[in-house]
């Protein structure tokens, strides 16, 4: 089964917003719900590039989209791959899959269908800056980015 007409309209709206704020992000595999991803490059203020993938939920816009940092392989300050941390509260990481880091951004209980991909990616952009802060300082990412209130 494909997207509903409402979901198709929402996807168009999401991509329209992204074309303004994150123009490198493109929609891939958009035909089949559950397989569609939005992928693009983010560049930190220090000039480092990260390939970011947002998995479009099959029940768009009702679920929290999964966001992964596809490349480069992220390591902590001590050189250990971040995927080895698994779920990490202080680093704001969800359980990785396929050796790819997943960023925790919104909880299901804080999710609202009116939150756009653009706002999610803005949080990821801040996470990247905080990650580079971790590499410099050794502080965990929650030193820079607070936890959501329960």
């Amino acid at each position: 089964m494909g997207w509903t007409s409402q979901q198709s309209a929402r996807l168009r709206l999401e991509m329209e917003i992204l074309s303004r704020y994150f123009p490198s992000f493109v929609l891939k595999d958009s035909i089949i719900p559950g397989r569609a991803v939005v992928e693009g490059t983010m560049r930190s203020n220090a000039g480092h590039e990260y390939l970011v993938r947002l998995r479009v939920p099959a029940d768009l816009p009702n679920s929290v989209p999964i966001v992964e940092i596809v490349s480069p392989v992220l390591r902590d300050r001590f050189g250990h791959p971040l995927v080895d941390l698994g779920t990490s509260y202080p680093m704001h990481l969800l359980k990785p899959e396929n050796d790819v880091v997943r960023i925790c951004h919104y909880s299901a209980s804080h999710w609202s269908p009116n939150i756009t991909f653009s706002k999610v990616l803005l949080k990821v952009r801040a996470w990247i800056e905080a990650y580079e802060g971790h590499l410099d300082s050794g502080f965990t990412i929650d030193h820079y980015l607070p936890h959501m209130e329960a």
């Binding site: 123009p23 925790c104 949080k123 801040a126 800056e129 802060g133 929650d142």
Partner: protein, 63 residues
């Protein structure tokens, strides 16, 4: 005055995370894809810039 220095931005995020007051505001400039620190009361920002403080102040969920 704009400040794009990564260390300054990270310090600003840390201040916010610790609930400390700051006279700066963090914005995202979609034209350059950079995060930029500006004076909180600064006028004349590009109309495309979006405030990045609020999404970070919301907090990050884990786990």
């Amino acid at each position: 005055m704009e400040n794009k220095d990564p260390k300054s931005i990270q310090d600003h995020l840390a201040q916010l995370a610790q609930g400390k007051p700051t006279s700066k505001k963090l914005v995202f400039d979609p034209r350059t894809q950079e995060l930029v620190l500006v004076d909180a009361k600064a006028p004349g920002l590009s109309p495309d810039t979006v405030t990045a403080d609020d999404p970070t102040r919301d907090g990050f969920f884990c786990c």
